[in-house]
């Protein structure tokens, strides 16, 4: 049930563009919502949004009662892009895992913070900033969390040399 309503609500963000239905497309891909095979991938909905649609997408999930599972990044160095992945899940038995992703250029990694919607995003975003150098605009306290307080390196970048 919640799967269909969430899919429709997220789909509304992409008025006009119809993504390939259920396509197990490899990344990179265009923005849009895809349903994934849960048995293989471990989640149901996979939405790639533009950075300015991020807050709208997360607000939809917040109103639908999802809890935040984690936030992380991926460095796609060949495409000169970085990806931020947001995981959401539910406490009830209407199991539905939603993945929101957004891509930013590697030389200007700016993503709006969602810690205003989910307070728990605070640490996850700080950690992602530690590891990838992705800046979350509007974050209240974007200082190193897991790395030393004077760290100026980002170890999960693919061109990082120790």
């Amino acid at each position: 049930m919640i799967l269909e309503t969430t899919q429709q609500a997220l789909q509304a963000l992409f008025a006009g563009s119809v993504p390939a239905d259920g396509a197990e497309a490899a990344t990179p891909r265009g923005n849009g919502v895809i349903t994934r095979n849960y048995k293989i991938h471990g989640y149901h909905l996979d939405a790639q949004v533009a950075t300015d649609q991020l807050l709208a997408a997360v607000t939809i999930l917040d109103h639908a009662g999802f809890f935040i599972e984690s936030i992380t990044g991926v460095d796609w160095i060949k495409e000169n892009q970085m990806e931020v992945i947001y995981d959401f899940s539910r406490y009830d038995f209407d199991t539905c895992r939603v993945v929101i992703r957004t891509r930013v250029p590697r030389d200007q990694p700016l993503v709006p913070t969602i810690s205003t919607i989910y307070a728990g995003a605070n640490w996850h975003e700080r950690e992602t900033h530690d590891f990838f150098g992705i800046k979350f605009t509007g974050h209240p306290h974007l200082v190193p969390l897991l790395l030393p307080e004077d760290a100026d390196f980002h170890p999960l970048l693919k061109d990082f040399k120790a």
């Binding site: 991938h41 471990g42 935040i68 599972e69 992945i85 539910r90 406490y91 989910y118 640490w123 590891f131």
Partner: protein, 372 residues
């Protein structure tokens, strides 16, 4: 001679709890702004034992990464290694023999009881009662001996393999596990009589440190913390994996939202784990413990895979982004105490420091798991 220090009535001071402090059970630092005994504001500082396990996940092959998982949570390591092998098996499409899955479930649940036992002892010791720790460690020792006999390790297990197990359990193990269940049930009664009814214990926990269900949702709290706030969420039931659907067990949920509720959830969970172990031993099928068709060098198909499991501390998630190579392109570990601890800063505002430390105990922190 200097003049005596004059404090204004509204003067606050900064108190550093940790990074070396017995109540934090590891190297965790909490910077607290205090107004007398009351916490005005608190800021948790992490990272003292951060080892960058996620980078190691990119540098090593999937099989080489197996031992890393048990270095996260040294009290309930099997749950984490279980999540890892399940993620790889899901992505690579490896079928695991039934006997192997049953043994996995039995050992994970034994490990969960061991983890909760140690938490119980340490938590009561935080509150000033020393003897329960000794009883709990004695019971836990039986589990560690059993697991040592089959896995070869006492804490940092590397027992599961992609497609099965490292070795089969023998009769000694099943006999010992069968003997352990009634013994543990007796102990649980003893703990209940010794601790739960204690008036000092109750006064320290009841109505203290309320964590609402909404706060859990905003921070992504899972495990006993969420279940103590009336949320009926357990990955074993909500997203059944392994052979858990075959077992008849309940998820204890308490609606009081206080420290006592979180304590009771864990105490009840031990009994539920014993039920799973009991049924598992009864149903344990014969057959192989390793999948027949299994590639020697595992390479995952291109894609993004996620697997969640219920560990002793809550929902542990592992995300593998694969580019088709023998290493992961990106490997993310979602640790439950990380999210559970995150709500501490907000929840402890205005609390007495002694209550806040008791509250911290009910979060069941394992710092290496948080810092990764």
């Amino acid at each position: 001679m200097s003049a005596p220090i004059q404090l204004r009535p509204d003067e606050t001071f900064i108190l550093n709890v940790g990074p070396q402090h017995p109540a934090t059970h590891g190297v965790l630092r909490v910077k607290m702004q205090m107004d007398g005994e009351y916490i005005v504001k608190s800021e948790t500082v992490l990272g003292y034992i951060h080892r960058m396990h996620e980078k190691m996940g990119e540098n090593r092959t999937y099989a080489q990464y197996l031992p890393n998982l048990s270095r996260l949570d040294y009290l309930g390591a099997l749950g984490y290694t279980h999540g890892h092998v399940l993620a790889i098996e899901r992505a690579a499409g490896i079928e695991v023999p039934e006997r192997a899955e049953y043994i996995r479930a039995i050992t994970v649940e034994l490990n969960r009881v061991a983890s909760h036992l140690f938490w119980f002892g340490a938590f009561v010791m935080d509150l000033g009662g020393f003897s329960p720790l000794m009883y709990a460690i004695q019971d836990r020792e039986h589990i560690l001996d059993m697991l040592e006999a089959v896995t070869g390790a006492r804490l940092t297990y590397c027992y599961y393999r992609f497609g099965g197990l490292y070795n089969d359990v023998d009769d000694d193990f099943t006999e010992a596990a069968k003997r352990f269940i009634p013994r543990m049930r007796k102990s649980l009664k003893k703990y209940d009589a010794l601790v739960t009814g204690n008036i000092i214990f109750q006064k320290r926990l009841e109505g203290i440190a309320p964590v609402s269900a909404e706060m859990c949702r905003k921070y992504g709290a899972t495990g006993p913390v969420a279940r103590g706030s009336g949320i009926n969420f357990d990955v074993r039931k909500n997203e059944p994996y392994s052979v858990y659907p075959e077992f008849d067990f309940d998820i204890p949920v308490y609606h009081e939202c206080d420290s006592m509720a979180r304590y009771k959830v864990r105490m009840d969970e031990m009994e539920q784990s014993l039920r799973i172990i009991e049924q598992g031993l009864e149903k344990l099928p014969g057959g192989p413990i390793m999948a027949e068709k299994k590639p020697k060098n595992i390479k995952l198909p291109v894609g993004d895979f996620y697997q969640a499991v219920e560990t002793a501390r809550g929902s542990f998630g592992i995300r593998i982004v694969s580019d088709g190579d023998k290493n992961a392109y990106r490997l993310k570990l979602r640790s439950p105490t990380y999210s559970n601890m995150h709500l501490f800063d907000e929840a402890c505002e205005g609390m007495l420091i002694m209550d806040a430390l008791a509250f911290m105990g009910t979060l069941d922190l394992v710092i290496p798991e948080m810092d990764r």
